[in-house]
């Protein structure tokens, strides 16, 4: 019986072209679009050592020189090749393209660049980051020297470590990846449409089919579980297909841990589906309005997770971290991101744990809402 319900439901879902397209086709189309948009960026996937000039005569902070010379791309490949030269020499080198930028370390750091490009952006990112941090220390010190406690200094130093010694798993940061993570998170969250549909079809006050099913002597939980399982089967397949496409066709380099990657999307898919089911039973308004709410929440969640603009993600992380913790899209992207960037997977597990808690919460609320339900109005 259970299997027959499940099988029929799968058959039913497979015929629904619209949902199939949005779940299977759309993410792949988007990934191709991203791929084409980023293809000129990803060609610089393996960054070469960047030659830069530092003006010689200046009174350079030795820790700065030490830092700039020690950053590595890989084990024995430095990020910068530094030449200490005179200002005239530096300008000549820059003009001839032998160095990509000049750092003039007087009281403040001034950076001279000639062209725009990936290498130039990296130099600029580095210099900006350094200035920001040294500025912070100086500001705090001048305002209130006591604050410069041992702890705080350690924190700053740690931050330096972060750049220097590569807690970052020795990977050159590839910002295009975050878009693919978002895409996967979005695909997981598409599950909410599947979950939503299942609930509409099973509730008497929302569809004629729901009414007919409710007068049948079938246990509603059995029906609900077989239907959600059918939705999950197809939805998870859509994610696996997307992974296969990204991995084998577009050759996007995700982390090596394929098992964890699949676990993230497995839980992500469950969370998406249960979230849709939850929205469907949680609001007492007509189906169309519920659909609008669902779309608004899932797009809003995607937005806050930085799918449209990466900056948003960091803004949320600093200004309103709670939003990040209850936003499934954000949890999924973060889990994927951590899997790639950190050697230690504790952050991945942390995200997965919250995702699971959310999923269980959605399922329990849904269960309580539809159990033995008679409707006030059909």
């Amino acid at each position: 019986m259970f299997f027959r319900l499940y099988k029929t439901r799968i058959k039913c879902l497979l015929k629904n072209r619209e949902t199939l397209f949005w779940s299977f086709g759309f993410p792949i189309l988007l990934s191709i679009f991203f791929y084409m948009a980023f293809s000129n960026l990803t060609s610089e996937d393996s960054i070469d050592t960047i030659p830069i000039a530092v003006i010689q005569e200046q009174n350079i902070d030795p820790s700065f020189m030490e830092l700039i010379e020690s950053i590595e791309i890989t084990e024995d490949k430095k990020l910068f090749h530094v030449r200490s030269v005179s200002i005239e020499m530096a300008k000549k080198l820059l003009n001839e393209g032998i160095v990509k930028g000049i750092i003039d370390y007087e009281e403040d750091i001034t950076l001279y660049l000639k062209e725009n490009g990936i290498q130039q952006s990296i130099i600029k990112t580095f210099v900006d980051g350094y200035m920001q941090k040294s500025q912070t220390i100086r500001n705090i010190a001048s305002l209130n020297p006591e604050v410069l406690s041992q702890e705080f200094l350690e924190e700053i130093v740690q931050h330096k470590d972060y750049i220097q010694n590569g807690t970052m798993n020795q990977k050159s940061p590839d910002y295009t990846l975050i878009y693919f993570y978002s895409l996967i998170a979005m695909t997981c969250m598409f599950g909410c449409n599947w979950g939503f549909r299942e609930m509409v079809d099973i509730q008497a006050d929302q569809s004629a089919i729901g009414a007919r099913i409710n007068v049948a002597p079938t246990n509603k939980m059995k029906l609900l579980i077989s239907n959600l399982l059918a939705a999950f089967t197809l939805h998870f397949s859509s994610i696996v297909l997307l992974f296969a496409f990204l991995n084998n066709v577009l050759r996007i380099k995700f982390g090596d841990d394929m098992g964890l990657l699949l676990l993230i999307s497995f839980i992500g898919s469950l969370c998406g589906i249960s979230f849709g089911a939850f929205v469907c039973v949680a609001f007492k308004i007509n189906v169309k309005a519920r659909e609008v709410i669902l779309t608004a929440i899932s797009i809003g969640g995607g937005f806050l997770a930085g799918m449209m603009n990466v900056e948003i993600k960091y803004l949320i992380a600093t200004k309103a971290p709670v939003v990040g913790y209850i936003n499934p899209s954000s949890l999924i992207t973060d889990a994927l991101y951590s899997l790639y960037y950190y050697e230690n997977n504790s952050r991945v597990y942390f995200n997965l744990a919250i995702l699971s808690v959310l999923t269980i919460f959605f399922v329990i609320v849904t269960y309580c809402k539809i159990r033995r339900r008679e409707y006030a109005s059909i």
């Binding site: 027959r4 029929t8 058959k11 039913c12 497979l14 015929k15 089919i209 409710n214 007068v215």
Partner: protein
């Protein structure tokens, strides 16, 4: 007693959709629930099926209280809703088989019953069709097949012939009679009195959520004060002649317009001879004559003061 509904009250906010409704249905009958649009027929059915919460009253089916998880009761009910409820993604065959499998566990039994249901509604040529490709009438027939495939003892049909062509309608009505002959008890709601009159052995007339009258067709007609109605095509009747006619012993009321004379008799009486006598004696020319027994519409009109059809 197959269904017993007592003092059922259902409110939608302020609107009282069912107002102390009482119904009972005996085994083997075709019970008609006749009422105009918005009178509460669908609401009553949904309450009986435990789909809707109600404010007051008791509902028993097969002698047991009905509830959301009374599976042994539900197993023996077949329901054909007013709105077609089938999966657009499944074929005719798959739809019937799916709904049947919600009731029947055995796989080969489901197969056999599905086949029977398809034959019953004559959809043999359309088993591989998807609902979107079916005409309105065929779709209604599919809807019925989905509701009755599991051979229920009690079949509830909520206006199954709305928006159906006459040919399909007749097929549906014949089918219902056949189901009844095979032993099923039927509850049939409609606002078409002809259908109810043709089909049902016992009828409740409802309006504004109340049962106004219950009985067989003849019992209902006997309740009202009218008898036979005579319509005569008569020319140039004068005021005093109409006056004379209305004074004939058994006449209850009389109308004359466009050379058409309509005389309603008192209950159980007949006027035809007297009327014709009068017309002949006064040398009044007349054409067609026909007589008519009271219809359910007359019953409805007399009880509520308004026509059944709007």
């Amino acid at each position: 007693m197959i269904v017993d509904v007592k003092n059922l009250v259902k409110r939608y906010d302020k609107l009282v959709a069912l107002d102390h409704l009482n119904l009972f249905v005996e085994e083997g009958e075709i019970f008609g629930l006749l009422g105009p649009n918005g009178s509460g027929k669908t609401t009553a059915i949904n309450c009986i099926l435990s789909l809707l919460k109600y404010d007051k009253g008791t509902i028993e089916i097969f002698g047991k209280p009905m509830s959301q998880d009374a599976y042994d009761i539900k197993r023996n009910i077949g329901i054909i809703m007013q709105n077609v409820a089938v999966f657009d993604e499944l074929t005719v065959y798959e739809n019937i088989s799916y709904f049947c499998s919600l009731y029947i566990k055995d796989k080969s039994e489901v197969k056999r019953l599905t086949q029977e249901a398809i034959e019953f509604v004559s959809l043999e040529d359309f088993t591989k069709f998807h609902p979107k490709k079916l005409s309105g009438g065929l779709l209604r027939r599919l809807n019925i097949a989905c509701g009755i495939a599991h051979k229920p003892k009690l079949i509830i049909l909520d206006e199954p012939t709305v928006a159906v062509d006459p040919q399909s309608r007749n097929k549906i009505l014949e089918g219902i009679k056949k189901l009844n002959a095979d032993g099923a008890t039927i509850i049939y709601t409609s606002h078409y009195m002809e259908e109810v009159e043709q089909l049902c052995s016992r009828i409740s007339i409802i309006d504004k959520g109340k049962v106004l009258a219950t009985g067989t067709k003849d019992e209902l007609k006997a309740m009202i004060s009218l008898g036979e109605k005579i319509t005569v095509e008569a020319y140039n009747l004068q005021e005093e002649q109409l006056d004379d006619l209305s004074k004939l012993t058994n006449v209850s009321s009389l109308e004359y317009s466009d050379n058409c004379l309509e005389i309603k008799s008192k209950k159980g009486k007949n006027n035809l001879i007297d009327v014709l006598d009068y017309l002949q004696k006064n040398e009044i020319n007349f054409g067609k004559i026909y007589t008519q027994m009271p219809t359910l519409n007359d019953v409805f009109l007399e009880i509520t003061g308004k026509e059944l059809r709007d």
